[in-house]
Amino acid sequence: MTEAQIIRQACDGNGTAVRALYERYSPRVFAVVRRIAGDDDLAQDYAQEAWIRAIRALPTFRGDARFSTWLHRIAVNSALQALRKADTRTKREAPMPEAVPVAAVEGDALLEDRLERAMDQLPDGMRQVLTLHDVEGYTHEEIGEALGVTAGTSKSQLFKARAKMRELLRPTLAPEIEGENGVEAWGI
């Protein structure tokens, strides 16, 4: 069955088709929402909200863009809107947790774990810009539109976020990967 057929059946309220879309795209949706939210519980709520919005809006999907792109955009906007509403959330200044409970799909688990935990330590604005630019590949113009800021502000937040990440990751480096003149190079 093609994706277009699955989408049409999901549009008609076919639970099996909706499940098929979920199975295919839920890791993508959860990843971007998790990184924007910086919190597992919030991420689950936001991801569910994104799916509800997407399934509700499915009749408006005309196939002009790829379904994954359309869904991804809904997930990002849904998470950003939810975060704006939940602005009472306290900043995370607590020590890094022992482990990230969510499971990566593939890759270098240790490195990814360190990166994810460092991102969780960033202030919300920095984390959102870093996620959208360096992880998701958005342009500063797209980020500015999504966050309601200028492209210049997005750039500024990105550079601060990268620097903060560098600072957060520096203490975790192994001595054998120190760089020139004693400066620790962040080896991969």
């Binding site: 909706v18 839920s26 890791p27 959860f30 890759g107 760089g179």
Partner: protein, 232 residues
């Protein structure tokens, strides 16, 4: 010139270095190492994998989808705001019953001795022919209401089966265009308004109009929400 700040180096990761920064980088191994580390960090972020949702996520989502009427269960529930929502089908079924009832009432008015709907039993000169011959005679309003409800459910079930067969055979959606559906609902609303003017106190007629208005509003709201999401 002193060492470049980490923030400046973070900028040089994606933007060109200024001349004085380039000059410094050419002569400073420490800053070059720091810039390399920042570039590796950025590349690693871009290569982060997707994340599996926690266990039980689908079950929670499914429960919500069902509760919001976005997926059907046992073939009877429909998308709330979808093209074949239960509410829309109810409105469609009600409209059919309304049209049939109006024709019946008109016939009674023309041919019946009392000329009113309050008259019990078929008026003289009008022969009621049960559709398909399957409707049993009734002797009370309560029984008549049950028969109407049963017919409505059978109609909806038949429509569900029709849609499922269409899907199974890969037929294109007949009412898959929200714009066309909105226009169709506009027609129902217009007919419902005219009917309400003729029978303003009739709960059934009002029900048809309210259902159509609610469904039309749902389409508008849904379109508005998705526009707000930047979907369009």
């Amino acid at each position: 010139m002193g060492h470049l700040s980490t923030e400046s180096l973070a900028r040089i990761v994606s933007d060109a270095a200024r001349p004085e920064e380039r000059e410094h980088l050419d002569s400073c191994p420490s800053c070059r190492a720091e810039l390399r580390a920042l570039r590796e960090q950025t590349e690693a972020l871009g290569a982060l994998p997707d994340l599996r949702p926690p266990t039980g996520d689908w079950e929670a989502l499914e429960a919500r989808l069902v509760s919001e009427g976005l997926v059907r269960t046992h073939g009877h529930a429909f998308r709330r705001f979808g093209l074949r929502s239960f509410g829309w089908l109810q409105a469609a079924a009600a409209l059919i019953l309304f049209v049939g009832g109006t024709a019946l009432g008109t016939a009674w008015t023309r041919h019946g001795p009392g000329g009113g709907l309050g008259q019990m039993g078929p008026p003289s000169g009008l022969e009621l022919v049960p559709v398909g011959g399957s409707i049993q005679p009734v002797s009370s309003l309560a029984e008549a209401a049950d028969v109407v409800n049963l017919a409505e459910r059978q109609y909806i079930d038949a429509l569900v089966q029709y849609r499922q067969l269409l899907d199974a055979q890969g037929e294109p959606s007949l009412i898959g265009d929200p714009t066309a559906r909105f226009a169709a609902l506009e027609g129902i609303v217009a007919a419902g308004r005219a009917a309400v003017q003729q029978a303003p106190a009739d709960p059934f007629v009002n029900g048809v109009l309210v259902s159509a208005l609610a469904e039309r509003e749902a389409i508008l709201r849904n379109a508005s929400l998705t526009r707000g999401d930047g979907v369009f």
